[in-house]
């Protein structure tokens, strides 16, 4: 059996187009994610965590193994798996409103219904007053809000988030992560969130999957001691949370140190 997302023995190999080098990015990855869960994936740079998300999105096909969503194997991208990208992937030629309604347009939802949904998410994500702005008029943080609203408006079963706050300044990042946490309590979507920030993963994830250095393997999966509804900005001061967060920090840190040592030895 398994959860809503079932990743089974996924191994991914790719060839670097320029160096013609064959890279083993992911090796024998297996895990399950339950419906409605918020799961974070962390690991050192280059461990293949973004690749894993692209595989689940269906934007790439795994070399070996399979990925099931609701029991059905993933064969390509689909509206049941929405994605928020690290680069601001909202379209510059659409206003905030029309970016958010884009997925609904694609699905052929009638205008009246579409407008109602867009209005709802504009309020939920805090984009009131920005409806008619074009992306270039927005700050990075606002752009990612639009990207999140656009993804949620399609109401996908699974929301995949690929380091969505990585390009933002620290304060904006903290604001957005706290808001995402709050918003997620009102959502039933399953969220899979890739980040290289231990603090972000510890705060957001109901569980955190730690990947090893490349080739990425599942090192451990750790459950958050504090339930989501009880987590907020101040959870950072909770002793149980601090212990959990430090555990994650050293788990990733030791992988980084070994990777750096190996790179030195290799020259």
């Amino acid at each position: 059996m398994g959860g809503q997302i079932s990743v089974r023995g996924v191994t991914h190999v790719y060839t670097n187009r320029y160096t013609q080098e064959t890279v083993l990015a992911l090796e024998e990855i297996s895990f399950e994610v339950e419906q409605g869960e918020f799961v974070c994936i962390i690991g050192p740079s280059g461990c293949g965590k973004s690749t894993l998300l692209y595989l689940i999105a269906g934007l790439m096909r795994p070399s070996m193994g399979e990925i099931l969503v609701d029991g059905r194997p993933v064969t390509g991208p689909g509206p049941d798996r929405g994605m928020v990208f690290q680069e601001f992937a909202i379209l510059p030629w659409r206003t905030v409103w029309r970016n958010i309604s884009h997925g609904l347009e694609i699905q052929g939802i009638p205008k009246e219904k579409r407008d109602e949904i867009v209005r709802h998410y504009i309020r939920l994500i805090g984009l009131e007053g920005f409806e008619n702005k074009y992306p270039y008029e927005l700050s990075g943080g606002m752009k990612q809000r639009v990207a999140l609203a656009r993804t949620l408006a399609c109401n996908p079963k699974v929301v995949l988030m690929d380091e969505p706050f990585a390009a933002l300044d620290v304060q904006t990042r903290i604001t957005l992560r706290t808001e995402l946490l709050k918003i997620s309590l009102q959502l039933s979507n399953t969220i899979l969130f890739v980040t290289h920030s231990v603090d972000e993963a510890a705060l957001l994830g109901d569980r955190v999957i730690v990947l090893t250095r490349r080739p990425g393997r599942v090192k451990e999966i750790v459950g958050n001691p504090i339930p989501r509804a009880a987590r907020d900005e101040h959870t950072m001061e909770n002793p149980a949370f601090i212990e959990y967060r430090n555990h994650l920090f050293y788990s990733v840190r030791s992988e980084v140190q070994v990777a750096e040592h190996e790179a030195l030895v290799r020259g």
Binding site: L59, F85, W93, I106
Partner: protein, 276 residues
């Protein structure tokens, strides 16, 4: 330095740089100024070197010639004929060029087949085709239109290719994760994303189209701006030649100002893809 009030500073900031008092003055300085400078150089050369007025007439003679052409109806007749021809050439070259550019930019097989052919023909000037076009189509408008569209076609194709290939891949990925089909990717991502480059292609191409048009009119037509200039040479009317040249330049400036620039304002500038 005199201090200004905050309200005044805000007003200035809203106006832009704040160094030019009104839009009218700004328009005159930036749009009329360069032409006045050109006229002054022209008159300067005449005063300094005193050339035979049959070879280099003065500004007033050319202006009088323009007035004559306007009064006897030739100006309106020839200008409108040239404009109709260039419009038809654009109507032919732009859609075909954009379509072929899209095909090459999106599909590697189409690219490997068509690119060498396109590069080959791009190296042949439109004027070199003119004798063949005359044999095929005769001394007709079609020949002129085809020759003008030939020069416009290639810059549109090459710029469309660049435009398609420089649209960030993440935009396509985003549309695919929303369930978008190939058609959605083309219509919602590739076409608008390629538009700035397509507009550049049209701008560059129009210059070639004009050249093709004027050259073809010289040889093929019995009217149009090219014919006006060519015919004037046989009558040693330097003032009429210069008047024709001014008409060509001013017409292009108008086309750019009233068609291409508003199109740019409404799209790529509106979207923040092009900064002043």
């Amino acid at each position: 330095m005199a201090s200004i009030s905050l309200a005044e500073a805000i007003r200035k900031a809203r106006r832009g740089e704040g160094d030019i008092a009104t839009p009218v003055v700004g328009f005159l300085v930036y749009n009329v100024g360069p032409y006045i400078a050109l006229l002054m150089i022209w008159e300067g050369v005449r005063i300094l070197f005193r050339p035979d007025p049959r070879f280099l007439p003065d500004v007033w003679r050319v202006a009088a010639q323009l007035m004559d052409l306007l009064k006897n109806g030739i100006l309106i007749d020839y200008l409108s004929r040239s404009l109709v021809r260039i419009s038809l050439a654009a109507g032919l070259a732009i859609p075909v060029g954009v379509l072929i550019g899209l095909g090459i930019g999106l599909n590697a097989t189409i690219a490997s087949f068509l690119l060498p052919i396109i590069r080959f023909f791009n190296s042949i000037p439109a004027i070199a085709w003119l004798p063949l076009f005359i044999i095929w189509l005769g001394f007709k408008d079609q020949t002129i239109i085809l020759d003008a569209s030939y020069g416009l076609f290639f810059p549109v194709v090459f710029n469309t290719i660049v435009g398609v290939q420089t649209v960030p891949k993440v935009f396509r990925d985003a549309v695919r994760t929303m369930g978008g089909t190939w058609w959605h990717i083309v219509a919602d991502v590739v076409l608008p994303g390629a538009l700035p480059a397509v507009l550049t292609g049209i701008r560059t191409g129009f210059a070639y189209a004009w050249r093709g048009l004027i050259a073809a009119e010289m040889i093929v037509a019995a009217n149009g701006l090219g014919y006006l200039i060519f015919k004037a040479q046989s009558m040693l009317l330097a003032d009429r030649i210069i008047a024709g040249m001014i008409l060509i330049g001013v017409t292009w400036a108008f086309l750019d100002y009233f068609i291409l620039q508003p199109l740019e304002e409404a799209t790529v500038r509106r979207w923040g893809l092009m900064q002043r």
